[in-house]
């Protein structure tokens, strides 16, 4: 076997939901046949901002390119004659439908009930702002709004400015991963039960599913984190050196502190860091945050970001460089492990996408391509 084929034989219909675009990609990486249904002219997903531009004026949605690889494209005019019955024929043959938000489905009434009437075996996955049940089930959501509704925007950023947004599309990605878990659970349940079911993803809950460290149970314990000044603990957090070298360090265990202290002492040629008063658990160093963090900033001045990262790791100090994306695309580990797949689309320069994080029996996700509009009409509908 040369590519992950765990879901070979599983047919997934992707109705072009923005929130579940990544879910379609994940299932494609696992070997499923994922069919993107596009209206004539192409899915609105292809032009969702932010766009990336080519020299000849071609402009395509970055999010579309990020998650369309590995999918087949079929054009169906849901508002035209015969369109709905074409869809129904596909639905009848499908295992999973990624529906997204029925209110944003952009066609005649498309919800999990209607689709499951066509095919009782179907696993129908919806993803809405607040879920399909509950007092706010009619409310609208979005990537930004879902993250805010989980309490996770409140502590983001600096105290002297408004809170900031999470990275583009991050909450959508969490909704998609939850959706994939739901779809596969439903497929397994189907074996025993003989029929499919509906999977309901609330984007608010998807954001909460990543919130342990800043979440509601902490409030019960009396901790309501807000936007705090940076560098809260000695030797822990994001540090910048004089030449802009920025790293994230976590030297809090006593042994890790000893290592860091020895390093500072060696390079900055001073004895102070080795003093007994600094040694022990992180609480011991709390009164000396400014001094210690100052030493670290100075130490950073002697290295490039990557050099510091490698040297810290060599000395047993947990550390990661604060990478920008251009340098991430060139990271030596990711290149060495074949983490990237090259892609090209007419009108744009070539770019790389993550190949996928899973290896099954030593084999990764298979090669994939970004489909043109209706590229697979013949194979799928013909």
């Amino acid at each position: 076997m040369t590519a992950i084929g765990l879901l070979r034989g599983t047919r997934v219909l992707d109705l072009g939901s923005e929130v579940l675009a990544y879910a379609g990609r994940v299932l494609a990486e696992l070997g499923a046949e994922v069919i993107l249904i596009e209206p004539p002219g192409g899915s609105p997903l292809r032009t969702v901002p932010p766009l990336v531009q080519g020299e000849d004026g071609t402009a395509v949605s970055a999010a579309f390119l990020a998650y369309a690889a590995g999918k087949r494209s079929v054009v169906i005019d849901l508002n035209g004659p015969g369109g709905r019955s074409q869809l129904d024929r596909l639905v009848a043959s499908a295992d999973v439908v990624l529906l997204g938000d029925p209110a944003r489905a952009g066609g005649p009434e498309l919800d999990e009930r209607a689709l499951r009437l066509v095919n009782d075996d179907l696993v129908a996955v919806s993803a809405t702002g607040f879920g399909r049940t509950g007092v706010r089930r009619e409310w609208r959501g979005s990537d930004t709004v879902a993250w805010a509704s989980s309490g996770m925007t409140f502590p983001l950023g600096d105290p002297d400015r408004p809170p900031v947004v999470a990275p583009l599309g991050l909450t959508n990605a969490m909704s998609s991963l939850n959706a994939c878990m739901g779809a596969l659970l439903a497929l397994r349940a189907r074996r025993a039960r003989g029929s499919g079911q509906a999977v309901d993803i609330s984007m608010q809950e998807a954001a909460l599913s990543v919130s342990m460290e800043a979440g509601p149970h902490m409030a019960a314990e009396g901790l309501v984190p807000g936007r705090v000044p940076r560098a809260r603990m000695a030797g822990l957090g994001v540090f910048s050196g004089p030449n802009g070298t920025t790293v994230d360090i976590a030297a809090f265990l006593p042994g890790q502190w000893d290592s860091l202290a020895a390093w500072i002492a060696e390079v900055l040629r001073m004895e102070e860091p080795l003093l007994e008063v600094f040694r022990g658990p992180v609480s011991v160093r709390a009164p000396y945050i400014e001094i210690i963090n100052g030493w670290i900033a100075e130490l950073l001045g002697h290295y490039t970001k990557q050099e510091f990262f490698l040297e810290a790791q060599r000395r047993g100090i947990p550390c990661g460089p604060v990478n920008g994306l251009v340098e991430l695309l060139d990271d030596e580990h990711l290149r060495a492990t074949g983490a990237w797949e090259e892609h090209s689309v007419p009108g744009l320069p070539p770019f790389r996408l993550p190949r996928g994080p899973l290896c099954v029996d030593g084999v990764g996700a298979g090669p994939s391509r970004i489909p043109a509009v209706g590229e697979h009409d013949d194979i799928v509908l013909g």
Partner: protein
């Protein structure tokens, strides 16, 4: 166990630390698997070590290790706990018998630890050929960083996530989470489920490896595309998202409170017209198309902000949601605790624990219509089920179990009679009306009595 759960016929062993593997096993347990956590006294999960902040360090670790809220309510509900020392012959032999009797093994161990403890796939598949074996590595099993140690924000920083959060004119803030752990746990569940689907048909096991770094970069793939095509860093955008106009965080009449609003397409934009004060904005002929709005997003943001600044976050939210536009106040975690919508979906629950009458547990963001997740128990106490698991699953007799406990190759829950209370039992029922145990101490009553004593007679 309900007969209707997708994984009722599956047994999962977990050797997990922190979030990634433990949450993977928790989800499998919530959907019916018999999830058994194999824990070590000599190499305990850090969430066991830290316990709960208010428990004094002088309290024996055998009690403190059962008090952590993260472990009790998030990473380990719906599991059993057996404690074995895998580097002792008796412990290892017992573990091998557990592997024999299980379907899945889930870990997030370093490459070196897997080697040292002889927990490689080859070694374990010799014990159980149909085993589904999963390791959630930080960096995958190969490559120059494979033996590197990461903690907290290190991986977020490396993966580019940290650099994407904050203001363009300042160094980045990053997220206050070990972010990659969470989607990695989900990838673990997805991989295990897909492998189970295959095994149901072919009978074969699988060796599953997930790289947490590669999970993280895929979560920010849209930004990677921007960087890759343009050759330039996508700028940090502070309180605005580049996805829509307007899309971001806006001021309210309370200087410390904000509201999140997203107008993502022409439909959303036209709905703003349903709000009288925003009608002229929404019907402005020069802002008709998404392109127009993208070019003038600062101006649009300012005009929306002028409106939201005149009212509270909830007022703006109700008006916008009524019009069909996505909005929500930027709430803190205390507000989320008492969120009536989450309560109507029973998201947060009060579940029984061996030491606490009830623990506050997170629900499951995956809602299935016919086979919903079970929520029967909070996390196990450390070694709470050592005897029963060794008897039932490893098939050991009582004498053999006693022997393991004697030599310290196995451990079990001690101080069983010590029962604890969460300080919040007294007041949490007012925010989240679930089945909370009574509080034996009411701090307000104590304080009132003291005040009475000190000042009551003289006043």
């Amino acid at each position: 166990m309900s007969p209707d759960l997708p994984l009722q016929d599956v047994r999962v062993l977990e050797i997990g630390y922190g979030i990634a593997a433990p949450v993977c096993a928790r989800t499998l347990g919530q959907f019916g698997a018999d999830a058994i956590r194999v824990e070590s006294v000599r190499r305990p999960d850090s969430l066991r070590t830290t316990g709960s902040g208010w428990v004094p360090l002088s309290v024996p670790w055998e009690i403190r290790r059962d008090t952590g809220t993260g472990i009790n309510g998030f990473t380990c509900p719906e599991k059993r706990s057996v404690s074995l020392e895998l580097d002792m012959p008796g412990g290892r032999a017992a573990f091998d018998r557990l592997v024999e009797g299980s379907d899945v093994l889930v870990m997030n161990m370093s490459v070196d630890a897997v080697e040292n403890l002889q927990l490689t796939y080859d070694r374990l598949r010799a014990v159980n050929p149909a085993l589904i074996y999963l390791n959630l590595f930080s960096f995958g099993s190969e490559g120059p960083y494979r033996s590197f140690r990461t903690w907290g924000g290190n991986l977020s920083a490396l993966s580019g996530i940290t650099a994407l959060v904050g203001w363009p004119d300042r160094p980045p803030n990053g997220l206050p989470l070990s972010f990659p752990d969470y989607p990695s746990s989900m990838w673990g569940v997805i991989a295990v489920l897909a492998a189970l689907l295959r095994r149901d048909v072919t009978g074969e096991g699988a060796e599953l490896g997930v790289s947490q770094l590669e999970v993280a970069i895929e979560c920010i793939a849209p930004s990677l595309v921007r960087a890759g095509v343009s050759g330039a860093e996508p700028p940090r955008t502070g309180d605005r998202s580049p996805r829509g106009a307007p899309d971001g965080i806006f001021a309210t009449s309370d200087p410390d409170r904000y509201v999140a609003v997203s107008v993502l397409d022409d439909d959303d934009w036209s709905r703003l017209a349903r709000i009288e004060e925003l009608r002229s904005l929404s019907t402005d002929p020069e802002l008709r198309t998404a392109d127009d709005r993208a070019r003038r997003q600062d101006e649009i943001g300012a005009r929306l902000s002028a409106w939201t600044s005149g009212r509270t976050a909830w007022e703006s939210t109700w008006r916008l949601q009524e019009a069909g536009v996505a909005a929500f106040p930027v709430v803190d975690n205390l507000s989320v605790l008492k969120d009536e919508h989450l309560a109507s979906r029973r998201f947060m629950q009060a579940l029984p624990h061996a030491r606490f009458g009830a623990e506050l547990c997170y629900g499951q963001a995956v809602t299935l219509s016919e086979t919903p997740a079970r929520s029967t128990r909070a996390a196990p106490a450390f070694g709470e089920h050592t005897r029963e698991v060794l008897r039932e699953v490893a098939g050991l007799g009582d004498e053999a179990i006693e022997e393991l406990l004697q030599v310290g190759a196995a451990h079990e829950m001690t101080y069983r009679e010590v029962q604890l209370e969460r300080p919040y039992y007294g007041w949490i029922r007012h925010l989240l009306p679930l089945q909370w145990p009574p509080a034996s101490v009411d701090p307000a009553e104590v304080l009132f009595a003291r005040l009475q004593q000190a000042y009551g007679e003289d006043a």
